[in-house]
């Protein structure tokens, strides 16, 4: 437990993927680190198969590993004129809780970024001219290039034992991988996992249609693996208990397994679990953090001093901490000035269900978290945005993280929801239903943002973070176009029936149904303090000894899952902090 009187070199707030990466790198550099985590210490989950963890009632109904919303949540509204109401029950997204964070109950999909994702604003001007992007879109380039991040992408894959097949290695195309990926300096640490039926079907349909299917990069080990920290992973057993669940087999990469298990007893590193950080304390000038105020496990308010503070509490909670601590100027949607809260985006997902006859053994109860087959033919520069009527792109994939009956059995449109007919339908379809998923980008808009709610507070008396967000016609068009492509692939396989949930015209954001936990932006990285909260090293422009690490830094949401980029940015940030900031104690320029 922390000794409150002692000053640490660094405080880490939140111990999921980013916090663990930061803590490990700092501690390895000889710095003293205290990591605060509001939830319990879940490091002891590792090891033996724990059968209770297979229970769907506790995993997917009680959501044992996800944050309870009782004490802390967000308010949400569709437009800035409306009154926001609280996110009272878990629906649309699932915040992590406890040591490991959402890195414990994620699926494992582990993409890098496409090079053009990181310079989207410039790329669109080059491809389609200066007037192509509508004025309401606040597109920005990342202030860092793919080439600069490549060593960090590579290292994070090695930490996670990521499975996959190289598509472009040192500039040379490789058979079987994604031909559109940025050039890699090395292969994936592990080969792909075996294909399940739906991925094999998808691969066939995509090849037939002339697309370029490739194995989804996934941090679900396909064999025994030891990472650079000496942590070991075991082969995935396809349990189908990935999203919502803690891995049964030490096969899914997690901060606990792949980083923190190597830090047991590491000198200079301490964890304060069940300790809620309330705010970052600044000195009188407001330009330097002196530490944090937190509630210890007995609920007593304490102050902990440190020379640096790394906010690693996930995108939304990072933005919340910045706002309640007065770090950076809050965004004002009317003047479009201010930086904290701007560019909030949310991944645009949809699904196509394929209902097969009894001869197709889809077996959806089996699954390998992130693994499967995807196509990138409608993403990045592959897509002519001037022809499709929207900006951005998407991936289409067959991924099967697994499901059981408590998690819900999809049925064709028109099937009864109850009664004898429902019973016959679930028995008929359960084993023979597959799905394809569509994961599209989301552009930032001047009137979609995060700020503090004027009415609702959390259990600690702080205003809740307020989200003003709805789907734009651009994202609806992307959803319809991409889901249409996926539907065609599905139909080409001759299922009995197909059902899809692309966004209809005028669709509004639905907070009640789980879609994705890819909440991005709100404190973005950029090259100007006028339009970004953080510089290219994720360092606050205004309070340079605060680093804000996470998907909050994304100027917009690309088609890919965020974790690979989040991990790479964490390494990029902390390595530059160690090499430059700590020596000079000023902004890294």
């Amino acid at each position: 437990m922390a000794t409150p009187s002692r000053e640490f070199d660094a405080i880490v707030v939140g111990l999921g993927w980013t916090g663990s990466i930061i803590a490990k790198e700092l501690a390895d550099a000889g710095l003293s680190v205290l990591a605060f985590e509001r939830g319990p210490d879940r490091r002891s989950f590792l090891g033996r198969r724990n059968h209770e963890r297979t229970d769907e009632l506790s995993g997917s109904v009680h959501r044992k590993y996800v944050q309870s919303l009782a004490d802390e949540t967000f308010t949400v509204r569709h437009t800035s004129g409306a009154t926001a109401v609280p996110y009272r029950q878990i629906g649309s997204f699932k915040p992590g809780f406890g040591v490991g964070g959402a890195g414990l109950h994620w699926s494992g999909t582990h993409f890098r970024a496409l090079p053009e994702d990181l310079c989207l604003a410039t790329d669109l001007v080059e491809r389609f001219g200066r007037n192509f992007v509508p004025e309401r879109m606040e597109l920005r380039d990342y202030p860092v290039t793919f080439e600069e991040l490549e060593p960090c992408f590579d290292f994070f894959e090695k930490v996670c034992g990521t499975t996959g097949m190289a598509g472009v290695l040192n500039g040379i195309r490789q058979p079987g991988g994604n031909p559109f990926e940025g050039s890699r300096s090395d292969h994936f640490p592990l080969p792909p996992n075996p294909l399940y039926a739906s991925a094999e079907l998808f691969q066939g349909a995509a090849e037939q249609a002339g697309y370029h299917p490739f194995p989804i990069p996934a941090s679900n080990a396909s064999g025994h693996y030891t990472n650079p920290y000496g942590c070991t992973m075991s082969p995935c057993r396809a349990s189908g208990l990935c999203s919502d669940y803690l891995c049964l087999n030490d096969a899914k990469a997690s901060p606990n397994l792949n980083i923190l298990s190597a830090m047991d007893g590491q000198s200079g590193f301490e964890i304060a679990a069940n300790a809620q950080v309330l705010k970052v304390e600044l000195d009188r000038s407001g330009t330097r953090a002196i530490g944090v105020t937190y509630l210890d496990r007995s609920g007593t308010e304490q102050t902990q001093r440190a020379a640096m503070v790394f906010l690693c509490a996930s995108a939304l909670y990072n933005v919340h901490l910045m706002l309640v601590s007065g770090i950076g100027k809050p965004y004002d949607p009317n003047s479009r000035k201010g930086v904290v809260g701007r560019n909030y985006t949310y991944q645009n997902v949809s699904k196509v269900n394929l209902f097969f006859d009894r001869d197709v053994q889809a077996n959806p109860f089996m699954g390998i978290g992130g693994a499967g087959i995807a196509i990138d033919d409608f993403n990045g520069r592959q897509l002519d945005n001037s022809k499709v009527g929207f900006i951005g792109g998407g991936i289409i994939a067959a991924r099967q993280p697994g499901t059981g009956p408590v998690r819900g059995i999809p049925l064709p449109d028109g099937a009864p929801a109850w009664g004898e007919g429902w019973k016959e339908a679930v028995a008929r379809h359960f084993r023979h239903t597959a799905y394809f998923e569509i994961q599209a980008s989301c552009m930032p808009y001047a009137d979609r943002y995060l700020d503090l709610d004027p009415t609702y507070t959390d259990a600690y008396g702080r205003p809740l973070l307020r989200m003003t967000f709805d789907w734009d016609a651009n994202e609806v068009a992307a959803s319809q176009f991409l889901t249409g492509v996926a539907r065609e692939l599905a139909i080409s396989l001759g299922p009995l029936d197909v059902k899809s949930n692309e966004k209809p015209h005028g669709a509004h954001y639905d907070l009640t149904v789980y879609q994705t936990s890819h909440n991005n932006g709100g404190a973005i990285m950029g090259d100007s303090p006028e339009t970004s909260a953080l510089n290219r090293y994720l360092q606050s422009w205004d309070v340079p000894n605060v680093f804000v690490v996470g998907a909050n830094a994304f100027p917009q949401t690309s088609a890919y899952n965020p974790t690979g980029l989040v991990g790479a940015l964490a390494y990029w940030s902390v390595r530059n902090a160690i090499n430059s900031y700590i020596k000079s104690e000023c902004r890294i320029d």
Binding site: H51, E52, T54, D55, E56, L57, V61, H62, R63, S68, L69, A70, T73, V76, R77, H78, T83, V85, P86, Y87, R88, Q89, I90, G91, P194, A197, C236, R237, A238, S239, G240, L241, L248, R358, Q361, N363, F365, M366, I368, G404, P405, V406, A417, W418, G419, E420, W422, K423, E424, V426, A427, F430, R431, T455, Y456, T457, H508, Y509, L511, T512
Partner: protein
């Protein structure tokens, strides 16, 4: 332990939340949501009403995982349930209001209606056609249907799904959670008797 006895801890045992009148309602309602037939087991045979009663004692049903501070404002349905009630209170209120509606319309409580009458009332509740005072009737229906399905399909360690009968019906293997080899099979249906978490390690 052979088939049929696995993990029936607490099967058919009531909890302490619902009154006898509420239990009668649950039995009559769940019986229509998932009826019993030669094709497969119904909610009553598998102990679903009792499961729901016991489940009402969980932090989940008591609203302990929900943000419950006011003010409680009207909001678009897409932003979720915004009222002050918890799940168990919603079910209790919906049962009371449904029975009251049946008394008013038929002069009998819901369990005393004929099967076709019950199903007609249930469709009206499902479609939100009946006005309840404290909760939208369609929301009550959706929540009770969700609880019924959860009870029907949950692991027998939770006291329902007796004999894992619902898992047998749909072909869900339950606990095994090890498909490293089976995932490669394309032709043969996965064939294994279902197993409960309670059998783990045996």
């Amino acid at each position: 332990m052979h088939d049929g006895q696995a993990g029936q801890t607490g099967a058919g045992v009531w909890g302490s939340f619902f009154s006898p009148i509420e239990r009668d309602f649950l039995i009559a309602f769940c019986d229509r949501l998932i009826p019993d037939s030669a094709f497969g087991p119904g909610a009553i045979r598998t102990g679903v009403p009792q499961f729901i009663d016991r489940h009402m004692a969980s932090p989940y049903a008591r609203g302990e995982l929900w943000y419950r501070q006011g003010p409680f404002c009207e909001a678009p349905r897409l932003l979720g349930y915004q009222g002050p009630l918890t799940l168990c209170e919603i079910l209790r209120e919906g049962i009371r209001a449904s029975d009251e509606y049946c008394q008013r319309s038929f002069g009998r409580r819901f369990p005393e209606l004929s099967l076709p009458e019950r199903e007609t009332v249930m469709r009206q509740i499902e479609d939100g056609e009946i006005e309840f005072a404290a909760i939208e009737s369609s929301r009550f229906f959706a929540m009770l249907l969700a609880e019924t399905r959860i009870g029907y399909f949950s692991d027998p360690v939770h006291g329902s799904n007796a004999d894992m009968a619902s898992w047998r019906m749909i072909g869900y293997p339950g606990y095994p959670a090890d498909y490293r080899e089976a995932i490669r099979e394309r032709i043969e249906p996965y064939d294994s008797r279902p197993r409960s978490v309670s059998e783990a390690g045996r």
